[in-house]
């Protein structure tokens, strides 16, 4: 009811005041109404059209295509029911492998990015002379997209590590990092942590700075040491930021594509092909759009589930506090 009052407030009160005939006021009312609809479409329309064409139509037609044998070359698109999904879950071992790898990668990346990001935030919120400089340095990798970062690290892993290995004799650097399944996996982890930690750090910094100074001062007067302040004051008070960061890293890790493409391109022998790259290859390299779209639908369901759980948890937290 409050809503309607507000709408009327926007319309100039002229009509209500004038003593015109009923017929006239009705037609002006209708005109007003059309004017409002027109304005609304003028303001919301342009972006809504783009949104519909670019997001809504492809999304819903994509659901349809995932049940077809569309191959992108011939015009004929035949309904095949659940065949694509059956194929993906029973015959396509590469997809299942990619799925497991992506899940494993996501878990590792979440833990490392958040611990390191939080550690960096703690470090730069101390009264260091180089705090601002360090903040910039830790954040800098985040500026470059995953593609450029992947290429930078390709060089580091291939030439840089080899050279450090020669100079120091440390066996870890003498490995062919990108040539082996396990080390290539860790290579991707290193790149994404190097990129993501600085970003997560910024959010933790904001949370740490919101902690009332008096609390920390009081604890210190009571004789708490640095570690006790961290455990009993800082960590509990940044908990809401932890939730945000956990889900930010979950979503971005699960969707990793650029760094995967430029660092290993799924190699060696598709052993580091994550889900997003697997979908891309299925559609645009193998030209099996129907199967690719079915995989994309599964991908969407997983991402959406994660996001919905996230929203539910954050909403719940808001109510509690």
């Amino acid at each position: 009811m409050n809503n309607q009052n507000n709408v009327e407030k926007i319309i100039p009160p002229l009509v209500q005041q004038s003593n015109v005939s009923r017929k006239y006021s009705l037609s002006t009312k209708r005109k007003k109404k059309w004017k409002e609809v027109g304005l609304f479409s003028l303001f919301v329309g342009p972006v809504f059209i783009a949104f519909t064409i670019v997001v809504l139509v492809p999304f819903f037609s994509g659901i349809y295509y995932s049940f077809t044998d569309w191959n992108g070359i011939t015009g004929e698109i035949k309904w095949v029911g659940l065949e694509n999904f059956q194929y993906i879950f029973t015959e396509d071992t590469q997809f299942l492998q990619s799925f497991k790898l992506t899940a494993l990668y996501t878990i590792v990346a979440i833990i490392l990015t958040n611990t390191i990001g939080f550690g960096l935030a703690l470090l730069v919120t101390q009264k260091l002379k180089s705090s601002n400089l360090l903040r910039t340095v830790f954040f800098m990798p985040n500026l470059l997209g995953g593609l450029l970062l992947g290429f930078i690290w390709q060089f580091i892993f291939i030439r840089g590590f080899a050279s450090i290995g020669e100079l120091t004799g440390i066996p870890l650097f003498e490995l062919a990092w990108l040539g082996d399944k396990n080390t290539a996996f860790w290579g991707i982890v290193i790149v994404s942590v190097w990129q993501g930690a600085g970003y997560i750090m910024l959010i933790y910094i904001a949370a740490l700075q919101n902690i009332p100074k008096e609390l920390i001062e009081a604890a210190k007067i009571d004789g708490a040491n640095r570690f006790q302040v961290l455990r009993n004051i800082k960590i509990p008070l940044v908990a809401p930021a932890v939730t945000i960061c956990l889900f930010l890293t979950t979503a971005s890790s699960f969707k990793i594509f650029d760094a995967n493409l430029s660092l290993t391109n799924g190699g060696p022998f598709k052993s580091t092909e994550m889900l997003a790259l697997n979908i891309y290859t299925e559609a645009f390299v193998n030209n099996r759009y129907g199967i690719g779209e079915a995989k994309a639908l599964i991908f969407f369901i997983v991402v959406a589930t994660i996001s919905i759980i996230q929203v539910m948890i954050t909403k719940k937290k808001e109510v509690e506090s």
């Binding site: 303001f43 972006v47 101390q126 830790f138 990798p141 060089f155 030439r159 190097w194 997003a276 559609a283």
Partner: protein
């Protein structure tokens, strides 16, 4: 007290600086090797260059067709930002001020669509885009960025506009100002802080984006920096002197952008991600 600089703080400071240097090592390798001759890269990767080979840069500059590529990237980023800011602020304003069910439904559609991963729509998108002649055109790409960026941009504007009192606008309307005029003259200037945040977030995303332009722009003349870098790396695999110089050329504009707007960027990213 907190402000005292103790020996423990000094230890932390040293630790921090070592960590910072560790973070910078990859940049050191790329910069120093981009200035070496090919032979020296292979024999002496870790050392500083013995002589500076700026011709790597000239060579890469030319082979990348850098002026063209850079202006493509610039055009895409600026035009996309422009349409995103103009149309999304207008839409968000109308959605906040029109208290009707339809506003809520449209707003929820924009927000809900934010969880759709790009990979889930890219395949049919190319089909739709090709039938609408949006492929192989910078403007087609800009149109797509308007669609893809609309969710987050409207979300951020929506939250901000809700906090602006409506009384200002009412006064202007009584004075005879049109809704359009009210928005552009009174509301839009008030949106400046969130507009800065939005432009920074969208610029970093669009400038660095690889996948969407790679699907939309097949014509080599239209390539953006990430696309050109990708093809360059593919073509000159293991020709590190050229590849690294090209990589640096792609990184430099971002560094300039970052260092000239550092404060805004860090603030913008923090406030944008917490919402």
């Amino acid at each position: 007290m907190e402000n005292k600089y103790t020996s423990k703080t000094l230890l932390l400071e040293i630790f921090g600086i070592i960590l910072g240097l560790l973070f910078l090592i990859p940049f050191y390798y790329v910069i120093s090797n981009s200035l070496k001759s090919f032979a020296e890269i292979l024999t002496n990767t870790s050392a500083l260059p013995s002589s500076l080979h700026f011709e790597n840069y000239l060579n890469a500059f030319e082979k990348l067709n850098f002026f063209k590529v850079f202006s493509n990237s610039l055009l895409v980023t600026i035009a996309s930002n422009l349409v995103l800011v103009v149309f999304c602020s207008m839409a968000a304003y109308m959605l906040v001020r029109t208290k009707k069910k339809i506003s809520n439904i449209i707003f929820m559609a924009f927000v809900a669509a934010m969880i759709i991963p790009f990979q889930s729509i890219m395949i049919p998108l190319i089909k739709t885009a090709s039938s609408l002649h949006l492929l192989n055109s910078i403007w087609g790409l800009v149109f797509m960025y308007l669609g893809f960026g609309s969710g987050m941009t409207i979300f951020l504007y929506h939250g901000f506009i809700k906090g602006i009192p409506v009384e200002l606008e009412e006064a202007a309307i009584i004075d005879g100002c049109s809704r359009f005029g009210v928005f552009w003259r009174i509301v839009f200037p008030l949106l400046k802080p969130i507009t800065v945040t939005i432009i920074i977030l969208n610029s970093l995303w669009i400038w660095n984006d690889y996948l969407l332009p790679s699907l939309v722009l097949q014509n080599p003349e239209l390539r953006t920096i990430p696309l050109a870098t990708f093809f360059f790396f593919g073509q000159y695999t293991k020709q590190w002197d050229l590849a690294l110089a090209a990589l640096m050329i792609g990184i430099i504009p971002l560094l300039i952008f970052f260092f000239s707007m550092q404060k805004h960027i860090i603030q913008g990213i923090t406030s944008g991600s917490i919402k």
